[in-house]
Amino acid sequence: MTERRTVDASLERVLREERTRLIASLVRILGDWDLAEELVQEAAIAAIEHWPADGVPRNPAAWLMTTARRRAIDRLRRDARFRDRLEQLGQEADEMDRPIATGGPLATDDRLRLIFTCCHPALSREAQVALTLRTVGGLDTAQVARAFLVPEATIAQRLVRAKRKIRDAGIPFRVPEASELPARLAGVLAVLYLVFNEGYLASDGSVVARRDLAADAEWLTSLLVRLMPDESEPLGLLALMRLHLARVEARFASDGSLVLLRDQDRSRWDAGAIGEAGRIVERALRMGRPGPYLLQAAIVAVHATAPSYAETDWAEIVALYDRLHALQPTPVVALNRGLALAELAGPVAALSEIEPLAARLDGYHLFHAARGELLRRQGRLDEARAADRRALALTENPAERRLLEERLATQDGA
């Protein structure tokens, strides 16, 4: 007999590590996402029944996979809808009883197929996010709903619709071909970064589920890195996330208000984590032709390794923004370049750089906050106040609001 507690602990550990692989493999065999989830659940229940008496198997992941696959075959045999599929899979069925190797050839890993299918461009971005968190990340519907502050029924419906579209529209379960890979990989990274930012930026410390979301996104990205070790952009995104997380403790004051980079207590940054992330950036840069996530990570790495705000290598940061702008000529990148330029060439030069962006960034609160800052530094206080008020009207994030309100109060008092 094995103690129930030991069984629970082993099961929890193996499910956390192997659940995605189990789901992915079953989706490929069955082509049915709901059934795949059901079978993993059934295999877990079987483990709770058998392991206490038989002992925890030597390779628990393989045991779960074999159990789930056997049940899958039973289902296929019973269900007329799957008869064709069963014939098709006749060859594979023999292999199913054999324990599956963990850590097999990465190029054909089912988890990679799962990630690319969840992030297929024929699905809405909301559906991509929900499906990735639910199926790859293993969050339940309630957790996804809590993290995005939407009703559980909305997420449940999104998932049902997405799975139905995958089935009815014939979205294939595979890694895209080489010619399609750059665009499709960019789509996957966009989903992961969106999830991360939802947890990291939107967090004001009051909703714990959102900070967990940043950790989930980091885990999913590290999985992607393990599955595609030769691609530099997933490495770039992973380093970017880790550089943000390494400094998360210094982002908020004890009263929950946001602390700007310039005012952060750098001794509260995790220097070890920053060093590791910096090494990832260097390794990825050596792969050549850096993409937008890697360049952003390189920029953040310069900030994170500077001894103080004043001693930051602003010339390097402006140069990196130039390269980023060449790849992504968006007004937001131009705005950030302008802000770095302010430290290198002063607020007058920076302001004349960002003013032309006004038409395109009028609805973006950070544009007005940046303008307010540059105007204040030139002593143009009335204009600065007007810009800060415009920024305040455009954001609902409580931490950002508090910062702007404080700024306005200080100026009014001055």
Binding site: H120, A122, A169, G170, R174, E180
Partner: protein
């Protein structure tokens, strides 16, 4: 899998072309269509007359029929033609639609195939 390609969009792209350019584009579309047909991907399809020639027939639940002028989806983008394609999956359908030579918008709709048995 079989899909229907609904080919449409606004007239903007076409309106900006000269007659010669339009003729050249029609020839490219004809060639594209022939190649897809020869490859067994395009099963059938047609160009349609302008949406202004459309007539809409509506039959209500109590059996009342009304006939009106115009397409049933009013909007800037109208359907100018369709094709029925047979390809392995949605990615292949997207690739096929992406290679359409004209500045148009294409909608890919899976076709429900019912077994004869």
């Amino acid at each position: 899998m079989k899909y229907m390609l609904l080919i449409g969009g606004t007239d903007d792209g076409w309106d900006h072309m000269t007659k010669d350019e339009q003729d050249a584009l029609y020839r490219r579309i004809g060639q594209w269509w022939d190649e897809r047909t020869a490859a067994g991907e395009m099963l059938e399809g047609h160009q349609l007359q302008d949406p202004s020639t459309a007539t809409t027939v509506r039959r209500s639940r109590d059996g009342e029929v009304s006939v009106t002028d115009g397409p049933f989806v009013e909007g800037k983008e109208g359907i100018g033609g369709y094709g029925i394609i047979d390809v392995p999956d949605l990615d292949a359908a997207i690739r096929l639609a992406s290679s359409w030579p004209a500045p148009d918008t294409l909608e890919i709709r899976p076709i429900i195939v019912r077994d004869a048995s």
